[in-house]
Symmetry: C3
Subunit: 344 residues, 3 copies
């Protein structure tokens, strides 16, 4: 597909500056711009690339100062990043969608499939599963017994959903994600061996949730592990049994949440964070990377960091002093010497 700057400017309702007839057929980063590509500049810090790029079209903010010579055609909009994202979406939507059923695939006769469903080769849809309309079940996916999946949800190759779990509409699950494996529950017995506590609950994932590659969401012991509407989980995350994650909370890669904890809505949790079991994290909490939380966060909208986590600014101050601890120790040694002399 090839588009002229004029067509794109019209679509974005932007102002065109430069050759309206130049054609592009690919997206690029501004610092890697080549002829035939379109890019954007949103951060004024990178202005210099505007004069260096070989991209034929650059989408810029109307507020962007232009102080040098620009070879590219500019399209000026209110929000360059948003406009660029819109074009990416258009492109993405143009990839033809698969429908129908490839063979061999295993679809239990008691499973109910909506309209426009794609079932990839070597996938399995077990007994009594109910699959909504336009759901894409890519290759080698496993959908267990009684699983329910809402409209337009996409399951990439190799996703595994254990029995009885419920997934909403417009969700995306990436390869290797495991939904509904047993929670980690064992009771000590009189002997030294542990006794497994059966995990008979399920996982409930509401609408518009995205789950990254190889992320694991354990089923509840009883009741449900719940991901509320709009939750976004990156790759390799662990969500323990009976956890609840609030609406629109975003969690970066390799973080883990232990059993029965409740994360409020609109939280932002960075990578490799660990959250202990049975605690509550208030709405809007921001947690820095690699932090460890062993107690609840009751006040909303705090930024915290460290293990155990405390306020972010304090953590940053303390971490600077940690580097100076040897020096600090020397100063104390020195003070003790002087004080001994004074007292001596």
């Amino acid at each position: 597909m090839e588009f002229t700057a004029r067509v794109i400017a019209d679509y974005l309702k932007g102002e065109l500056e430069g050759n309206p007839d130049v054609k592009v057929n690919a997206f690029t980063k501004i610092e890697e711009g080549k002829p035939g590509t379109l890019t954007f500049l949103a951060n004024p810090k990178y202005e210099k690339y505007l004069y260096e790029t070989e991209a034929d079209i650059v989408i810029v903010n109307k507020s962007q100062p232009v102080t040098g010579r620009v070879k590219s055609t500019l399209i000026k909009v209110d929000d360059a990043y948003g406009a660029f994202a819109t074009l990416l979406e258009l492109y993405h939507a143009s990839v033809p969608e698969k429908t129908g059923r490839e063979e061999p695939a295993y679809v239990a006769s008691s499973a109910l499939l909506g309209e426009g469903v794609f079932v990839g080769v070597f996938s399995c849809i077990a007994e009594h599963a109910r699959i909504g309309n336009q759901v894409k079940i890519h290759r080698q996916v496993y959908i267990g017994e009684n699983v329910k999946i809402g409209d337009r949800t996409v399951l990439y190759p190799g996703v595994k959903v254990y029995r009885d779990c419920v997934i909403g509409c417009d969700c995306i699950l990436h390869s290797g994600a495991v939904v509904g494996a047993d929670g980690f529950g064992f009771a000590p017995q009189s002997g030294a061996d542990f006794k497994k506590i059966p995990q008979i609950g399920n996982v409930v994932i509401e609408d518009r949730v995205e789950i990254g590659a190889n992320t694991c969401i354990d089923r509840a012991t009883i009741g449900s592990t719940i991901l509320r509407r709009g939750v976004k989980l990156d790759n390799l995350i662990q969500v323990g049994h009976n956890v609840e994650i609030g609406e629109n909370t975003v969690i970066a890669s390799q973080s883990g949440i232990s059993g029965s904890s409740k994360i409020g809505p609109n939280c932002m949790i960075a990578g490799q964070v660990g959250i202990a079991g049975h605690i509550v994290i208030a709405e809007g909490t921001k947690i820095g990377a690699q932090s460890g939380l062993n107690s609840s966060v009751k006040e909303p909208n705090r930024a915290i960091m460290g293990t155990p986590a405390f306020d972010y600014t304090g953590y940053m101050k303390s971490s600077v002093i940690i580097r100076k601890l040897p020096e600090l120790t020397k100063r104390i040694d020195e003070l003790e010497k002087k004080t001994a002399v004074n007292n001596g």
Copy 2:
């Protein structure tokens, strides 16, 4: 299935208080109790729920004080949590077990399968594998050449077991677990490129081991990576080549153990812990979440935490002071000023 309080009380040899004819058909958490459900109260801290719950039956400890009005039928036993777990097990055992072989599945002609084995669709059992009785190989599982699996072991959809590995009886492996991938072994060469050290050993997993979703157990360079009887591993754990983990040791999610380390029996290792290579952790060691161990723990039954880890109580004391480091620094500044004056 529906049971009366009387039948359940008889089964648990408990004392019944309230309506013996009330019927339940599901389990619930006490705070989410609804008519038709059964729940339990083990922790006296949550006594208030006893008076609020809508569950029709509550299993309680005989020692549980009852000071308010209870709507539910009570079943009083010595160990409410244990009794509830027993009922969960009964329920879990009532899910009908699959046997036989779904098609298409790949079972090498040289593979030996015991009685009552289930082989799910799209699974692969390679040459010379030996599968015990009542083993459940769910869908899309991979069993490599010469693998041996003991009786009653369950492999959930998508488990991958590389060639030559040995898994005991009564084990459970969850989706995405990878047993026997190459250990991470490379030798520097005269040039800048690394040379791969072939990993020709295997993994040996003894009886009653549970392995969580997407957990990785690497094969040994030579010899075996060993998980002893009763080991329980949560999700997303890394076990390096030639590691040995002792009996009944329990490890929480996202922890990692580097090559050739030996973990003693009855250890409890929390989440996101890192253990360096070639070290030894004594029996009964308890390691706090996110700790990092770079040297051996020789004394058994210690509780440790931190990176590098030291004793748990000390860690907790130090971590409180870390928050006060800016204040501590000011106090030293102040002291220096005063001492300078005193000396001046």
Copy 3:
């Protein structure tokens, strides 16, 4: 296969000491040596095993002092570990390689396969994929549309490669690795919900790269996420979108690199390290386990550790003092008392 000490010594061009006719058919660790096995001793620290081992053949360095009675036949070479690795390679190469195509497998008619390719049962090679010569696509592998894979690369069971990704020659991808899932990119919208930024780039993996089990390499938003020649990644690693990892850099298990960061060549990154987005790590940087990096490392060949990371030696000094913080606090208390008295 069974070989005599003489044959092995000749092959390694080593000096033989002891019975040249003794035969071995397996490798072993020196401390676990049994009759019929071959082992090696490279580290003089473990000399005592030389006198205890039951292995029939031990490869030793020419420089190895022998002060006791040795039962085994010795083969003396310049580099015992290298010689042993060479024998492991020979053994490994003797495992017969699979070729041809098992059925059922899904190979799109538009896919191009080179010579000597193995396609395992239940694997899927999608439209327009191009597979080089002698590539081994084991069972249950997924190769997306337009993927290109170079000669002799091995994909173990269950590897998933999303559309448009490019993998070089002589690479190894272990089970559960996911290449090309969407990067984690969301833009806040005027409402509380996030908007997904389409990820239309790809992943480019150059030659001689190894990727561990369940490791995730996200595709770029636009452009490519790049792993340069000779990169070695352990298990359960996260590589974010638009990351670039330089030649021969080695990363241990469970580390994560956030979006758009550039890691230089010849770095050594230990386990559970976290690297923030949009930073640059200079060539030859060594990063200690569990470190967290939130800013660029500009000077090459530094060793760093901690969160936030600083120089390794300093970190080690500070971590010793952290254990003594309660004592340090007491010393300051004491000083304040004394100084108050002096001033009083």
